[in-house]
């Protein structure tokens, strides 16, 4: 059973994980200095769909995000992208192995 499906729901209530607001427009990826297309929108889909293994497989991508907020600057939905990335890091450290 998916463990991640419980974790983000819990996060939504407790820590403000707000992937639901993302409309998958791609503005964030266009301004990301790392130019990684998966960050953050596809990643957030994985989380919403409870795809633990897909999230685990992106450990390197998740930990290489610069938290620079360039993406947030251009996000029309006001998604707290960097905070979501930090929360995913915490999840990977606790339960992600």
């Amino acid at each position: 059973m998916s463990t991640l499906i419980a974790a983000p729901l819990d996060m939504t209530v407790r820590d403000g994980f707000d992937a639901e607001a993302c409309m998958n427009c791609g503005f964030c990826s266009a301004t990301c200095p790392l130019g990684v297309p998966i960050l953050p929108r596809r990643l957030f889909r994985y989380v919403l769909f409870g795809m633990d293994d897909a999230v685990r497989a992106e450990t390197e991508t998740i930990f290489s995000c610069l938290l620079c907020r360039s993406c947030e600057q251009s996000c029309p939905a006001g998604v707290h992208i960097t905070e979501n990335v930090r929360l995913l890091r915490g999840w990977l450290l606790r339960e992600g192995r």
Partner: protein, 338 residues
């Protein structure tokens, strides 16, 4: 191949928990610049460096080691390293930068102290109680270790009777001003950055530089703490003709440094891209963050990076004739040149 992420983050979080810093560095060394300036101990208003600038040469040593380890079978032993590190301070063995490497970064807190004095600000310093704020562990998601550490920092500040801290780098400013209030109930510490304090006082500069330099805004000042105008105002008063790159202010481009601890190659690629945006604008670039400074410097290609405090200290020094006028009549003053 990068080292196993979870183990590396685990070592940093363990260090923060056990030794009060992600990389425990000797407090005497990290605060020597303050003794040299004879900064008074404690007080309601203190200069708080969070050891960020002082940490850089140690981080550089560790990153070099990681890079060497990452390509060897030893990388598989990082888990064992983490278990050992709980009992022995591993950094004491691997990361001893030379005095020369340290001096460059210890000069920045000293510069900030000089500037505040020249602007007439009264403040003290906490010496061994000037603790790292926990930035790297927070960024890596080790929230529990950071929350416990933040409580310890705040308890120490309260014990010292501190009501206001003056910070000198973006990351410590952000932790103390925007992150700690979310972690600690009843948090009422006033947090200002030294650039804000100096700009607010309308600091004037005795020896304007008459030089052109391009400015690099750190992401954390620009997009977390909204510190954009004070550095520009100060540089203009200091006689620096500030050139704005295309990606400036709230649209600034990251230096790549935050990826350095885990993925140095990615950090280097982002830094190279930023250097390419800056280098044709002016031969000098003003930085305002220790992480930007070290990362952009490593990628420097025909452009010189210097911390904003270096420009401001140089411009605030009394002109040569004024210095000799002060020195001539009186007894030798221990405060000359501060």
């Amino acid at each position: 191949m990068p080292l196993p992420t979870q183990d590396v983050v685990g070592i940093l979080a363990d260090n923060l928990r056990i030794r009060r810093n992600v990389l425990p560095i000797p407090a005497r060394q990290a605060t020597r610049w303050a003794r040299a300036l004879d900064l008074p101990r404690g007080g309601e208003v203190v200069l708080y460096t969070g050891l960020m600038y002082q940490l850089i040469p140690y981080i550089e040593r560790l990153v070099a080691l990681e890079r060497r380890l990452g390509d060897t079978p030893l990388a598989r032993l990082t888990g064992l390293g983490r278990r050992l590190n709980r009992f022995v301070n591993g950094v004491a063995f691997v990361a001893r930068p030379s005095a020369g490497e340290r001096a460059e970064y210890e000069r920045v807190p000293a510069n900030a102290a000089r500037l505040l004095r020249r602007a007439g600000v009264e403040f003290g310093y906490l010496y061994e109680d000037d603790l790292y704020a926990g930035t790297l562990a927070y960024d890596l998601g080790a929230d529990e270790a950071v929350a416990a550490h933040a409580r310890r920092v705040v308890a120490i500040l309260r014990k010292n009777g501190v009501r206001e801290v003056i910070t000198i780098d973006p990351h410590t400013t952000n932790m103390l001003r925007s992150v700690y209030p979310r972690l600690i109930g009843g948090y009422d510490l006033r947090v200002r950055n030294y650039l804000e304090v100096l700009a607010e006082r309308g600091m004037e500069f005795a020896s304007p530089l008459g030089r052109r330099a391009v400015i690099h805004d750190p992401c954390v000042y620009a997009r977390y703490e909204n510190i954009l105008e004070p550095p520009r105002r100060l540089l203009a008063s200091a006689g620096v003709d500030v050139a704005e790159p295309e990606k400036a202010g709230s649209l600034t481009w990251c230096c790549g440094g935050p990826a350095e601890a885990l993925y140095p190659a990615k950090a280097a690629a982002v830094a190279a891209a930023r250097v390419a945006q800056l280098r044709d604008i002016a031969p000098d670039c003003v930085t305002m963050c220790p992480i930007c400074l070290v990362n952009l410097r490593k990628a420097a290609d025909g452009i010189r990076f210097r911390d904003i405090s270096e420009y401001l200290v140089e411009a605030s020094a009394p002109p040569p004739d004024a210095t000799s006028a002060v020195r001539r009549p009186g007894p030798a003053s221990g405060r000359a040149g501060r």
